[in-house]
Symmetry: C2
Subunit: 333 residues, 2 copies
Amino acid sequence: MKKENSAPTMKDVAREAGVALGTVSKVVNGLPVGETYKARVEEAIRKLNYQVNSYAQGLKASKTHTVALLIPNTLEPFYASLVYHINLALLKRKYRMLLCSTDYDSNLEQEYVAMAKQNKVDGIIGLTYNPDLIIDEATPFIAIDRSMGPKIPCVTSDNFAGGQLAAEKLADFGCRRVAFLRWGSSLTNEPNKRKAGFENGCLARGLSCEMKIINDGEPYKEFEDFLTAHMKNGKLDFDGIFCVTDTLAHDILKSLEKLGQKVPGDVQVIGFDGTRHFGNKAYTCSTIVQPVPEIAEMCVELLTQENMRARPPLVCLPVSYAYGGTTSEGKDA
Amino acid sequence: MKKENSAPTMKDVAREAGVALGTVSKVVNGLPVGETYKARVEEAIRKLNYQVNSYAQGLKASKTHTVALLIPNTLEPFYASLVYHINLALLKRKYRMLLCSTDYDSNLEQEYVAMAKQNKVDGIIGLTYNPDLIIDEATPFIAIDRSMGPKIPCVTSDNFAGGQLAAEKLADFGCRRVAFLRWGSSLTNEPNKRKAGFENGCLARGLSCEMKIINDGEPYKEFEDFLTAHMKNGKLDFDGIFCVTDTLAHDILKSLEKLGQKVPGDVQVIGFDGTRHFGNKAYTCSTIVQPVPEIAEMCVELLTQENMRARPPLVCLPVSYAYGGTTSEGKDA
DNA sequence: TATATTTCATATAACGTTTCACACAAATTT
DNA sequence: AAATTTGTGTGAAACGTTATATGAAATATA
């Protein structure tokens, strides 16, 4: 007699269907089984409402159908969006997600990697900042926005092209003297290429361009001081600003308002990310849009695909420009 | 000889320390073990860098140290914030989080509950919308913002008090004719009490108050039409608006701008949630702040506490008011 | 001193899967 | 018609834990 309260096991299904344990396992895992047997087992599964115990499965087999996602937090819109779309992509493949919010903490990142290994996750997707992160070869790892060696695929937007695009758009919309604003990162990650792309674009279109990179201090204040220093007779030195992220762009917009600068009349602003924060509403600033759904899909696909051998070391996905009210859209200067 | 690539097991530790398997288990689980033995085992654990296999653990024991979080998405700031703080609270207790993004889909919610059960999670925290959600008694469940019966604790902000507070603040800041805006929800959940609280507050302070509740259609457009209908000679009928969420408040602010209304000069706006979207920057609208860290902590505490017996059916946590530029802060009207 | 009690490490049996050698029957070959 | 191959369901072993019964010391009781 079966205990009342416990979930049915394969053994129960086998008894109900009058077949062997191994046969049930095969049916559950989609391995070849004779038609009659298969039908009997499936009937029994339905009748008992059987579900595999993933812990037993994880113990015996190597597959746990679980992926760990390492991400600094879920608050920043870009990260939140990644979490959302990666979750979706995993769901589609019946994978589960173990969320590891790292808060940019190197130790925590490393701990989570250990934990992921201990938990025998099938793989890890990580947007990490620990330059010395040790990942054991056994657990597949997909990096986002950071190249971690030839064996570890990195999925990212085409940041260089994004920078170029921003320069081109500003040029198209009549800017002549532009600035690039970003906060520092000692880490050599992919998003850093936005600067090079922007420089390249400015050069190609003959824009004069000033770079301002904050490494420490209060970024918000530092940038405001920078802008203030570039005011001449109540007018800003620049007619276009490219911000490394939308988050920064929103800060800058506030500073510009304080300084009495009209956007996009006096100065145009382009951000980067294109994550809409409030429902599916319009963009709140003109921006270079990262293809987050595609990035998510690619990460999950690389992690779950059959052939893990020949994985590309770097996957760059195309970005696009979106209007969000802070550019003048072709009204010539 | 041990296989090169596989992680050390308890058996390895036992051999290394020269003790029995069960002894290692006791040390790992903090059960009483003689001092000398304990020291030997701990030394071996360190030497081999042993970590328990949580799948074996989950199979045998009932504790999996994993909690499932059911939440509509990770994009809405309030949800993103909940995910973040619940993750933190779980981390503190060395629990893991299985993230289940439901997209308001009733079937998906039910599926995730089944999956959580199958995965033997220690408990579920759920902000769900399926009115018929079936949760089996065996898996502890903590509901956020929705009362699901006496046996299931519900953690929420004091929504009624929040509504009252909004009314009081608007009254304090000189408003006389105010409106409450919200979209419909057939579900009787806790946030619905914001309306009653606001009505109550308006009554107490003698504010005339109009309720506008959208049930279907495009909310953004519906509300704009509502506001437009209340324009008289280029002036809005109201001098104060309470929006059921900050997200809505931001929409309304845009509509007001379109209608040429100055905020907070012509009309003051208060939202609800108080989740800062961009880093830790200032609030972007005046709002009633939900104590998200405390809500998260309470959910996790209720789920992980020793004594699961006498759990409160409803926990209401206090809200507060925060200035965000869309109210006139005591400059009397 | 002999017996009863306590203490505590040990060994063994689950937990619910997957895997794999095995057996048995049917189909094919010689 | 006998021998071989092929196909396919079976049942036991193993995965790494935890829990429980066991038994050997050590201590207390008579």
